[in-house]
């Protein structure tokens, strides 16, 4: 919303306050200023001039002799409306005008072979209003009169951020801001429009005096419309005609479009008082009888904007006996709009339920200035201001206009008087050090329109009508009123007197930090991916989306669901980055979401995992690598080095919280997800706790090399526990025993290890090391040999050679009874 300084000055004296300080006062005391600008030409030197004669030079240009109050000047002019005897605007040489290229100085120059001493200008050239419609007509002024007197010169425009007025229905007008500025500046209001609010007489007094004609106007309001108040009056002898120039300029300054006087005035009154109002062409209404009612389902209304609106029962309309004539509180109807031949009008101002207005305006997507104001919850005492002001200004311009009816007033919801009990010491405590004295607070609240009943420190404040709709309802609202008027810059800082307590970092966060540090140290790069996923894509990787959280209003169909795993993002991130680098090491710590109750999506238990959550969210760590195929290990050339490279990292991560051994279990090819290499996929466990999965990415044409991805559950890792404990280092010697086991090629090492660990004397085993893998002669096709070293011994004594021999033979017989052969 834009504010004009000239307009504000109608209501409050701003003398002595620079434009900069005015903007500063508004922003630090009242509402957020979005921007400031100047409007209109400086007008210095521009005067009213009388055209004495007009002589054509050619088909376009004419030479005029004008009298500027002191001398006659010769001026060349192209305007078709220039005529002898006309009073117009003259800018002498050296003055400023606005052109399409910006401000320009008027030069003495030859035009069409004639010397021109200055120019005659249009309103547009002075940035006053309107389009290029010829030079300005200034009837009723004396030649030589200064234009800056007539039009107040350069105006200063403040644009307010509408969001900062969400809670202030009283600030949606020039009078509203002026009232506020008067309170902040402690200056009196020059013209207090609140006198029209007539709150004591409940609206009856002044309005009764206003209208007294014989014309009949009936207004009936249905209760279920939640209309708070509806005022109407009939006015005859009006002319749509041209709007006075001063009013056109103001409307232009704040960026408002213009139509005809009756409509412009309606608009002006809203911007002036804050009260939306509407004029119907009385001749186009079926009869001077209006019904405020719920719309019928399927009923249609063509709005002033030319759009047909299809209505429902939840919408409210103003209708005459033939049907809707306006969408209540939002938009007038086209059929009853004022037009060039209008002679009589029905002026209406009302107060509507903000929620109803908001719903209809949102549903039909019509955000008019009226709707914007009503949905902020206006006071039912406001509409009289619109009626009074409209009549007042109309009569000023068109004295012939007459009111031909009583003011019909349907006042359905009279608000209770609102009082707040508080104390000066409470306000002072909330503000802190530097709070104003009680007497000062009293003055501030009174200047803001509150009526105070003081008893010592305590007081009861009665809230004025314009602040009583929602805005001021608590003692804390008064803290804000006093604080902002006093100026928060006057409040000084102070440390609170509170107990000093150590703060904690959740275990989860500590683990996250450790994982990140570890991974960064190991050369991994962290990325953040979006929480949304394309359900189709996710499905194509093998994730069921049956329990996924689905978006009602996604930005895009490829962001239609919340991700159920970090893998889909990881695959994309690998693919995108592989265009630039052949070797990648990436990780993300993030969340996946699901509607399903399953242990993997644990119900949050503590604050950060509080119950009563909407979806189930789990924290995951996804690590991925891409590398060229092949590589050597301690075992020589071995397939899947990339896989084990990542698994080694997982092992380090698991060791952050667990002292149990990390182990993997193959995922059977038929259970592998679509993205997984069916023969290189495993579940990862620490002890019996499932930590996550790891798998090589099934070959893709867009990725060269081998990609391996794993996804770990941070909450599982957190559940496992690690406690450092000391065991004395064994004083007794250990022995080694190396065996080579021959087994079918696809025998898992974990199976062999289990056989060894389950042998009768296995309590002596202190470690098992894989030494080598071998396939080929003299082994048979489809066989392999696995050589391991067993480290064994006792912590209590030195083993006897007989015990050693026994151990070795137990191991060998276990291997054989396990169905495997020994390679001798």
């Amino acid at each position: 919303m834009k504010l004009s300084r000239h307009w504000l000055s109608d209501f409050v004296d701003l003398t002595g306050i620079s434009n900069e300080s005015l903007a500063e006062i508004v922003t630090t005391r009242i509402a957020e200023v979005d921007g400031v600008s100047e409007s209109g030409a400086p007008l210095s030197g521009a005067v009213v001039a009388l055209i004495k004669s007009v002589t054509p030079i050619n088909s376009k240009l004419r030479k005029t002799i004008v009298f500027d109050g002191t001398a006659e000047r010769s001026v060349v002019c192209g305007a078709p409306n220039a005529r002898a005897g006309m009073l117009t605007a003259y800018v002498p040489v050296g003055g400023k005008i606005y052109t399409s290229e910006g401000p320009a100085e008027v030069l003495k120059k030859e035009v069409g072979g004639e010397l021109s001493e200055g120019i005659l200008v249009s309103a547009k050239e002075l940035d006053l209003f309107g389009d290029h419609e010829g030079i300005l007509e200034l009837d009723g002024h004396e030649p030589g009169a200064s234009l800056s007197k007539i039009f107040q010169g350069l105006d200063f425009v403040i644009e307010i951020d509408n969001k900062s007025l969400t809670h202030r229905p009283d600030l949606w007008s020039h009078f509203g801001f002026a009232r506020e500025l008067a309170a902040v500046l402690r200056r009196p209001l020059k013209d207090d429009l609140d006198r029209f609010a007539d709150t004591d007489a409940n609206g009856a007094g002044l309005l009764t005096e206003l209208g007294s004609g014989r014309g009949e106007l009936t207004i009936s309001v249905q209760k279920d419309t939640e209309c708070r108040r509806f005022l109407g009056v009939l006015i005859e002898g009006v002319i749509p005609g041209v709007t006075p120039q001063w009013m056109r300029r103001r409307l232009h300054t704040i960026g408002s479009g213009q139509k005809n006087f009756l409509v412009d005035l309606s608009n002006y009154v809203m911007l002036d008082t804050g009260a939306p109002n509407h004029v119907f062409d009385l001749g186009k209404l079926r009869s001077p009888e209006l019904f405020v009612r719920a719309a019928k389902n399927g009923e249609q209304l063509r709005g002033l904007d030319g759009i047909d609106y299809l209505l429902e029962q939840t919408d409210v309309v103003v209708a005459d006996s033939s049907g809707p004539v306006s969408l209540a509180g939002i938009l007038g109807g086209e059929s009853t709009a004022v037009s060039a031949d209008t002679t009589a009008i029905l002026l209406e101002a009302a107060c509507w339920d903000p929620v109803r207005i908001r719903k209809t305006a949102k549903k039909l997507n019509v955000r008019t200035d009226a709707a914007l104001r009503f949905e902020k919850n206006q006071s039912p005492y406001l509409p009289p201001l619109a009626i009074q002001r409209y009549v007042q200004l109309l009569k000023q311009v068109q004295p012939g206009a007459t009111i031909t009816s009583r003011v019909a007033d349907q006042f359905l919801q009279k608000p209770e008087k609102l009082s707040i009990a508080s104390s000066f010491s409470y306000i002072s405590q909330r503000l802190g050090q530097g709070a104003p004295e009680a007497i000062e607070m009293g003055v501030t609240l009174t200047s803001l329109g509150l009526t105070l009943n003081v008893e010592g420190d305590k007081f009861v404040a009665e809230v004025p009508y314009h602040r009583a709709t929602r805005d001021i309802s608590h003692a804390d609202d008064l803290v804000e009123e006093v604080g902002r008027c006093h100026g928060y810059e006057n409040i000084s800082e102070a440390a609170p007197l509170v107990a000093s307590v150590p703060s904690s970092l959740p275990a989860q966060r500590e683990l996250e930090h450790e994982c990140r540090d570890l991974l960064r140290g190991a050369g991994f790069n962290e990325y953040y991916a979006h929480s949304f996923v394309d359900p189709e894509y996710s499905l194509s990787l093998g994730y069921s989306m049956a329990d996924a959280v689905i978006m009602q209003n996604p930005m895009d169909s490829n962001q239609g669901a919340m991700r159920t795993s970090l893998i889909p993002n990881a695959v994309q991130t690998l693919a995108e980055n592989s265009r630039f680098e052949g070797s990648l090491q990436l990780f993300e710590l993030g969340r996946a979401y699901s509607n399903k109750e399953e242990p993997r999506f644990a119900n949050y238990k503590t604050l950060d995992r509080a119950a009563n959550t909407a979806a189930k969210e789990k924290r995951l760590l996804c690590i991925s690598t891409l590398s060229a195929e092949g590589g050597y290990s301690d075992l020589g050339a071995v397939a899947g080095v990339e896989f084990f490279g990542l698994l080694a990292v997982v092992k380090k991560i698991a060791a952050l919280r667990s002292d149990s051994a990390l182990r993997t279990e193959p995922i059977a090819p038929e259970n592998a997800l679509a993205w997984m290499h069916p023969y290189r996929a495993a579940k990862i466990f620490i002890g019996e706790l499932e930590l996550g999965t790891i798998a090589e990415l099934a070959q893709r044409s867009d990725l060269k090399g081998r990609a391996v991805l794993c996804e770990l559950e941070m909450d599982s890792l957190l559940e496992s526990s690690k406690r450092a404990s000391y065991k004395p280092v064994s004083k007794y010697p250990t022995s080694f025993f190396e065996v080579s086991i021959v087994c079918p090629r696809r025998t898992n090492y974990s199976t062999l290890e289990r056989v060894l660990r389950e042998s009768p004397k296995s309590e002596l085993i202190q470690g098992i090391e894989l030494l080598s893998l071998y396939e080929g002669k003299p082994l048979q096709e489809g066989e392999k040999s696995v050589s391991v070293r067993l480290i064994f011994g006792s912590n209590e004594r030195t083993l006897l050679s007989q015990e050693i021999a026994e151990f070795q033979s137990e191991v060998m017989s276990s291997i054989e009874s396990g169905g495997f052969a020994l390679r001798r």
Partner: protein
């Protein structure tokens, strides 16, 4: 055997030793002269054949001579070994400017996302001020995101935020302020919390807007909390983040869950910049979470983490933050 033989032998020996060019050659010479069968050793042994009256002197001179030769040898050895060592080292020259990745596979330094680093830094600052770090869900019940924050369904403030809704009727939290409610519900005042995290608003994505962004909510609840206290914490916080004493101001700002509500501006490069919204916790929020606003007061604030990261590193496009482009990410080691 003559006495003069001693001097002759010494002269010859020293000049031969002087000519040695390697420690190996020197060792050979040592054996030649001083070994068991060495020439000088033999000379010393020949003392027996010296006449008795000269024997004492001969013995003394011969021993002195041997001492000098040995000392010379030792010195020569040190010099030669030093020379040889430096020659060997020189032969082991490597080109230290070779690209590491060409020679060693494990050269990658790794990187942390800038949001991670900034969030961690802030968490540390707040922990120093006695604030506990808490986390909460990103898919939220309406109650936490709106209702209990004094934003009922009909409130125009709901228009201020473009909300993502799930088909279950839940919201993706539009601000971390939802955590104020969770904290007040689950923790006993007095309390001090910060809640960093991911938020969502359905905004058109461009270089300065993303539908996903990070905030950090802060709240302190205690007895007799005032605007002075809020200012104290905000200034302390900003001083820590910025590393200099900031010039700040409060001006009115509207948020339904605080009263009074403020925008905190900071003076930066000659003008006021809007930095963070804050205010005293609205009594309604206390009531809606089962606390007596007469007993408890508090302040709350919201830090835009994404915005902070953008300005700290002068990042020109917010889409980088969740773009996953390594060429961006690797700039934050």
């Amino acid at each position: 055997v003559e006495l003069s033989q001693i001097t002759e032998n010494e002269g010859r020996c020293l000049s031969v030793l002087e000519g040695a060019t390697s420690s190996a050659e020197l060792e050979k010479l040592r054996v030649q002269f001083l070994g068991k069968q060495g020439e000088l050793t033999q000379l010393l042994k020949s003392v027996a054949s010296v006449p008795a009256e000269q024997r004492k002197e001969f013995g003394k001179l011969a021993n002195e001579m041997k001492g000098r030769v040995e000392a010379f040898l030792e010195q020569k050895k040190t010099v030669l070994e030093l020379k040889e060592r430096s020659a060997r080292l020189e032969s082991e020259w490597i080109d230290v400017t070779l690209p590491v990745s060409a020679v060693s596979k494990n050269d990658a330094p790794g990187s942390l996302h800038p949001l991670t680093s900034v969030q961690r830094e802030l968490e540390q600052i707040f922990r120093g001020l006695g604030f506990t770090v808490v986390d909460g869900p990103e898919v939220e019940k309406e109650r936490y995101n709106f209702d209990a924050l004094n934003i009922p369904a009909t409130h125009p403030a709901r228009d201020m935020q473009d909300t993502f809704w799930t088909t279950q009727g839940d919201v993706l939290r539009t601000h971390t302020s939802a955590m104020q409610v969770r904290a007040l519900e689950r923790m006993k005042p007095p309390l001090r919390i910060v809640a960093p995290g991911r938020c969502f608003r359905s905004e058109r994505v461009d270089s300065s807007h993303d539908h996903t962004f990070y905030q950090m909510e802060g709240m302190m609840v205690d007895r007799n909390i005032s605007i002075s206290n809020l200012l104290y914490f905000m200034r302390t916080l900003l001083r820590e983040i910025l590393g200099f004493e900031p010039k700040i101001r409060l001006r009115p700002g509207y948020f339904p869950f605080v009263e009074p509500g403020f925008e905190l501006d900071i003076w930066f490069k000659g003008r006021w910049l809007e930095l963070l919204p804050c205010g005293l916790v609205h009594p309604k929020v206390f009531e809606l979470t089962g606390h007596d606003p007469k007993e408890w007061q508090g302040f709350a604030f919201g830090l835009g983490l994404s915005r902070l990261v953008m300005s700290r590193y002068e990042i020109d496009d917010v889409r980088h933050l969740q773009g996953g482009d390594l060429r961006f990410l690797k700039q934050f080691p």
